[in-house]
Symmetry: C2
């Protein structure tokens, strides 16, 4: 570091996001990007939002523009609590809801309050990259739990807890996980909670995608099964718009004051105007009217991606069609490396996120994540066709010269 600056030790853990750098690269117009996790902008309820901003700035401009409570706007906290009671968390009340500057900030606050350097955090395999980034500055040791199509396996959590004195929590996305798209069944939820309770392992339940189901809502959250031991995070980014930067967390009572103080230190409070606008939209029943169309749209896009994958992907590629959320998760045929193939894919005009970025231990070379919510079904089909051609070429080259690096192909 150039004098006079000396960096904090944790700054070594602040490294560029693979996803963000990719997003920049995939902004080139000739590239069809399946990489980003951007909600379809067509789902933004622009007119209702414009009307709501206008309304709040006419009705309560001074309060909306002034400094406000760190906890968040009272009516919005009530609305979040009521929605959570409706999802089975009988104990949910506004006094335990904290409004955050996006769900990312929720993850950051949780890390600050729970994670010491060298303490252990259990994560799924794969796990959400943004969470790894949010937690990393607090310098925990990440341990990836063996996982299957439903998420973390209870036996893996049990074994880790038995062997790890300083296991601070397990971080889980039970609903349509980013990146894998998988959904934890009610039985798996019960089994995970039983282990966590027996072993005294707190749960950090991250649920940005729960409302984006196709055919049936997901089972009740972990926080409904074990309210005292579960910290639940949610977001308005996927159901309204990311640009508002509003999320929330529901914290067990003993944690709430520390999270609140961390919030105050971090940014005093989230934008009051934006909070009042979201509250007005919820009050007006926007989500009930709006979400069915979003779900229908995303289901159609997922079907288009599934059909395109069946048509264009080489044999030996494996995936599960998700029941909601935003992502497909692919396992490539043996020998292919998603990160090594990315330059070829970009050259062919398609972008994705290599799966290794989502593995706490850097494994997962043969996996990759595809988002189905940003592009139209037609463009999804074209993007997947391009991806299929790249993979086919790589397999052909690999068959011809089994020792060649796939990166050198095409």
């Amino acid at each position: 570091m150039t004098p006079p600056w000396t960096l904090a030790r944790r700054a070594a853990r602040l490294n560029p996001s693979v996803i963000r750098d990719l997003l920049k690269c995939s902004e080139r117009p000739e590239i069809l990007s399946l990489a980003g996790g951007l909600p379809a902008p067509e789902t933004f309820a622009v007119e209702p939002m414009r009307a709501a901003f206008d309304h709040v700035l006419r009705e309560a401009p001074l309060a909306a523009l002034q400094y406000a409570a760190s906890e968040g706007h009272g009516p919005l906290r009530e609305q979040v609590a009521a929605a959570l009671r409706g999802r089975g968390i009988a104990e949910a009340c506004a006094s335990r809801v904290l409004i955050t500057t996006g769900s990312q900030q929720g993850l950051d606050l949780v890390a600050r309050v729970l994670l010491d350097p060298g303490s252990t955090l259990a994560v799924e395999t794969p796990t959400y990259l943004g969470a790894l980034q949010a937690f990393s500055p607090c310098e925990p040791r990440f341990v990836g739990l063996a996982s299957d199509g439903q998420g973390a396996r209870p036996q893996a959590l049990d074994a880790l807890a038995a062997a790890t004195p300083d296991l601070r929590a397990a971080y889980l996305q039970p609903n349509f996980q980013n990146p894998s798209g998988r959904l934890m069944t009610a039985e798996r939820r019960a089994a995970i909670v039983a282990v966590a309770q027996a072993r005294g392992v707190p749960l950090i339940e991250d649920d940005p995608y729960g409302e984006l189901w196709f055919d049936a809502p997901p089972p009740a959250p972990l926080a409904a099964l074990w309210p005292a031991g579960t910290l639940l995070l949610g977001s308005f980014s996927k159901v309204l718009a990311p640009g508002l930067r509003l999320g929330w967390l529901l914290a067990p009572a003993p944690l709430y004051p520390k999270l609140l103080q961390a919030k105050q230190a971090a940014d005093l409070h989230s934008p009051g105007l934006n909070q009042r606008v979201v509250s007005a939209l919820l009050d007006d029943g926007l989500l009930e009217r709006h979400l069915p169309a979003v779900r229908e749209r995303y289901r159609g896009q997922a079907e288009a991606m599934d059909a395109a994958l069946r048509r264009h992907l080489p044999p030996g590629t494996d995936w599960q069609r998700p029941a909601g959320g935003m992502f497909f998760w692919l396992r490539l045929p043996a020998g292919l490396d998603a990160a090594a193939l990315l330059p070829s894919a970009l050259a062919a005009g398609v972008a994705y996120v290599p799966g290794s970025a989502f593995h706490a231990d850097g494994s997962g070379a043969a996996t990759l994540r595809l988002s189905f919510v940003t592009l139209s079904p037609e463009r999804i089909a074209e993007a997947v066709a391009r991806l299929g051609a790249v993979l086919m070429a790589a397999m052909t080259a690999m068959a011809a010269s089994p020792t060649a690096s796939p990166a050198a192909v095409s």
Copy 2:
């Protein structure tokens, strides 16, 4: 902590804000609060803001509501850089400007990148409480620099730097400091920078109030004198509205990438819609039209407070009339304790912030901070009259019974 939760060590440093708790208490309608640092809501440019929100949501709704770059909205970064060049920082360019979720987040990001547990941070005496709160989770050791009516004394910085191997930076508010209201002269700025350069001590220059001058703009920022060694933070909260939650920082090139990554981990990006609205307002020249009236208003309020203090405060109370900003700083007659007197003051219907909260070492018992920007001149006069009566009563009681605690009085 209730099982199963174990807190991180840094959570012990996350404690309630005296100012915030006071604000709650002073919300009672019968209390005239000189405590808060709330800009006068009458200064919010509500109609232009409403029009700008409407405009952005008509012209670029999808981009404004989508995920956006962590660095901030490009045109807004350009506008900040241009304004800083106008203030004498010839090197200021958009690529070194980071938009933050209020200036509080800027302080938080700086702490994450620069402060290790046990490392030393020099602060002024008194210093900004919100900065102490933002820095505390990173567990630095705060050392208060001996200061006078212009801020930190260069000799104090020199002596501390000579004696402290792990001095990471000095945190300074040269313009109308919170809480003291003092302004650092050009000569003092040059002297501080000379010491900092000679000793290799980076400067964190926090400037939320620089635009709120009464008769003349403040001297050029420290960042103009030593761009490579100074990290400058600013805010739109005091010139537009706090509820937008937008600030910025200008970082030396080698620090910028780490601050950007800390930002990304903290909340991905600041609200894009709000950024576009501020950019549109700046583009439209709102500040040039708007700020003269804000300055005029605050000057009138400061004059009213000065007059009321002269009229109502007991002899032996000392203050300096500020040349801008939002605060008067009072030193009470010997023997009075501002924190101990606060309950009497609240009972008499006036609120202030005891000065000890602004001292890194908890000293400053005889000092207090008064804000002059929230109340009208008439209400300022009434509030100061109430304060004067409380102080007079305490002095009378102290004279009658020199050993009695002032808190027991009235």
